[in-house]
Amino acid sequence: MNLTLILFLVLAVVAVASAAGLLLSRNAVYAALFLVLNFATVAVFYLLLGAPFIALAQVTVYAGAIMVLFLFVIMLLGAEKLPKAVGLPWQRPLAIGLAAVLLAEAGWLLFQRLQLSAVLANPDVTVNTTETLQALAKNLFSQYLLPFEVTSILLLVAMVGVIVLTKKEKGEAA
């Protein structure tokens, strides 16, 4: 039982508990804050895996930008609490059963078919952060240049699309 393993287990418990909080909280603002906690713990996992750039991008993009957008829309619409809807009575147990089946399938595939339980996540213990970052940048701007440019177009399309969607038509009451 080394220090990294203890850290991993504690963070895993926090991550699963915050995901459960997201599922169970009745107030959407609490759900959003649980999700921020979940993103922060996942960022620490990225640090443990030797991916500091991804960890910081996770904090700024996910926990920062995306969740601020979520909280803004929740407060704009006043959607913290929706009135309790009359759902289908069998929907919840069916959904829980299906999610359990999904989890069992994934576990069976990973641990029975692929025999992954003995593989270590980090075969060599030293990781040079600068070298990792340099390799990342070199790959991003050479081999993956086309996908990189495509994402910039995607972001532009999303930006224009959002403005067009939410713009009020001329003559429509404000």
């Binding site: 991993f8 959607a79 213990v125």
Partner: protein
């Protein structure tokens, strides 16, 4: 960072988080929380990508995570805009009310 954690631990955590996200999409009735559950699923997939990238010592997995993050950001922006217009039209965002294609 010394001390090694089996790859399977990360994959198990990723699978658990993904299943919880799928459960949230199926169970919750608030579209904002459904969106957050989708983010949870994307995030768990990212965790698996980074774990595999660490395992095979390749930067490709981390780059895919970067692309997933940009796509998630675009998806959230468009999705929240859609929710805002639905709210403007129906004065409620309960998913059970979204049952007509027009108006």
């Amino acid at each position: 960072m010394t001390g090694s954690i089996p790859l399977s631990y990360y994959l198990a955590l990723s699978g658990i988080l993904f299943s919880m996200g799928a459960l949230g999409v199926l169970v919750r009735r608030n579209p904002l929380i459904i969106f957050m559950s989708i983010e949870l699923m994307l995030n768990s997939a990212n965790l698996a990508f980074v774990a595999f990238a660490r395992n095979i010592q390749s930067p490709a997995g981390q780059l895919i995570v970067l692309f997933v993050m940009t796509v998630a950001a675009a998806e959230v922006a468009v999705g929240l805009a859609l929710i805002v217009i639905i709210f403007r039209n129906k004065h409620s965002i309960n998913v059970d009310l979204m049952n007509s294609l027009k108006g």
